[in-house]
């Protein structure tokens, strides 16, 4: 158990194991994404009120869900790096921020595209939408803070503090549709009780949410590998990997 924990702190080991995880996870993710996308976009019945425009939920909902979850991943990784001074947690945290920002952006843009034919407007200053915009700023703040430091170790710690501070906003974003009167509908998928969405539409949606989680993991691992190589570019194992003599 503890050897596993210690091994996590070793860059070459992490680089190797993430490589073998990616070898299986990446093709699986791509297949799941394709299946979910084709299933959701082509083989589900159109909604009786919204017609075909509702199909954007197969992108919008997974992106939004994973964008929120990604913040927790980032904050928890940040906490681990602050508490146990684990450098790999630092690398993980740093790798989350740009993906999270991209997913939040996707959720906002797809929401706007769906909102135009359905609500008749691209943008409303509604609790959920505004709070997702704040989430985007939180992610971008972490990215900007990391870039501003020359010393990458200090940058990692500073970003860890910032992302932990930002977590106070996440429950507010998550619960905003229930707390405020809002144009955005409340969550349709519930873990307890019946979901207010038909199973024929729910299953492809769940598949898409799963594949977005997997996609997040893949991209995060790839980011981490690049960051590991960059941080350890002077060590012998990276030189060996690059084919140079050590």
């Amino acid at each position: 158990m503890w050897t596993f924990f210690h091994k996590l702190g070793s860059p070459p080991w992490l680089y190797g194991i993430s490589g073998s995880i990616l070898r299986y996870l990446l093709p699986l993710t791509l297949v799941a994404l394709t299946v979910g996308m084709v299933w959701g976009l082509l083989f589900t019945a159109p909604d009786f009120r919204q017609g075909n425009s509702y199909r954007i939920i197969y992108i919008h909902v997974p992106a939004a869900v994973v964008a929120l979850a990604g913040y927790y991943v980032m904050a928890i990784a940040g906490a681990i790096s602050l508490i146990w001074k684990m450098k790999m947690a630092d690398v993980a945290m740093k790798s989350c921020a740009p993906i999270g920002a991209a997913l939040t952006f996707v959720a906002l843009v797809t929401g706007a595209i769906w909102g135009k034919p359905t609500w008749g407007t691209w943008w409303v200053w509604d609790a959920r939408i505004t709070s997702m915009l704040i989430l985007l700023f939180l992610y971008l703040g972490v990215v900007a803070l990391y870039e501003a430091y020359d010393n990458k170790e200090a940058a990692g710690k500073a970003c860890a503090v910032l992302s932990l501070v930002g977590t106070v906003n996440i429950p507010i974003i998550y619960k905003s549709v229930d707390w405020w009167y809002s144009l955005h509908q409340p969550a349709s998928i519930k873990f307890t009780g019946d979901s207010s969405i038909d199973p024929s539409m729910l299953y492809p949606l769940l598949l898409m949410i799963g594949s977005f989680y997997a996609l997040f993991t893949c991209v995060m691992l790839m980011n981490m590998r690049a960051e590991l190589l960059e941080r350890n570019s002077r060590t012998s194992w990276v030189r060996k990997l690059a084919g140079g003599d050590s």
Binding site: G141, K157, A158, V161, L164
Partner: protein, 228 residues
């Protein structure tokens, strides 16, 4: 020489910050002047129609308070970082949580408190209905304290950076937004004849949470900045 006890140390720290500020009155005056100038910009930009200004007044006053807090919080630790006294503070046996709290309290006393006290005057200039004025002052009193605490986090994280000025706004404005929402909602409720109490209570709860947690983040940020 024995080390002073903690409360005496923190009071001395607070007094030092206040004395430093009083010696340079322009530092105290600047945020107020900024407040007045920006208040003057809105009638120019929105047009001087009194009813329109009255409508926007809660939001305008709160946004200006937020911006003037943002602009001043950059400097909370800057000079002490540059002359090395911050490093001494970190090495001292006093609990950093409390010393940081005295820095932030000093910042709030010379910006937020004064802003809240002069805000009724600007509220009258923007035709804010009189029933909203007390809610405005109280919400600013509570709210600017939260803003100072959050601003301290941003200041601590960016104090070691040469180009921190723009960055700090990106870091802390998203965290300011909940305060802005409840602060201006309190004033709007009071103007509309509804009780402002619930909003003020939420601000109070946020303030308690910020007092309990923010100094830890500030202390961690200062350690990182000084180490880097």
């Amino acid at each position: 020489m024995s080390a002073p006890n903690t409360s005496a140390f923190c009071l001395r720290l607070l007094r030092r910050q206040l004395v430093l500020a009083v010696r340079r009155p322009i530092e105290i005056g600047n945020p107020l002047l900024f407040f007045a100038m920006v208040v003057a910009l809105f009638p120019l930009g929105l047009g001087p129609a009194p009813d329109k200004l009255a409508n926007f007044a809660p939001g305008i006053l709160w946004i200006i308070a937020l911006l003037s807090n943002l602009l001043t919080s950059d400097a909370v630790f800057r000079s002490d970082f540059e002359d090395g006294s911050l490093e001494h503070l970190l090495l001292s046996p006093q609990p950093l949580y409390l010393s940081v709290l005295s820095y932030i309290a000093a910042h709030w006393l010379i910006t937020g408190l004064l802003l809240a006290l002069v805000s009724p005057m600007f509220a009258l200039m923007l035709n804010l209905p009189s029933q909203g004025i007390i809610a405005l002052a109280v919400s600013l009193l509570l709210g600017t304290a939260i803003l100072s605490l959050i601003g301290g986090i941003g200041a601590a994280l960016t104090v070691g950076l040469k180009r921190g000025g723009m960055l700090i706004s990106l870091l802390i404005l998203p965290l300011y937004m909940p305060v802005l929402i409840f602060g201006s909602a309190a004033v709007q409720a009071a103007v509309g004849g509804n009780p402002a109490g619930p909003y003020l209570a939420i601000l109070g709860a946020m303030l308690s949470l910020a007092i309990a947690l923010a100094p830890f983040a500030v202390a961690a940020g200062l350690r990182i900045s000084v180490d880097a």
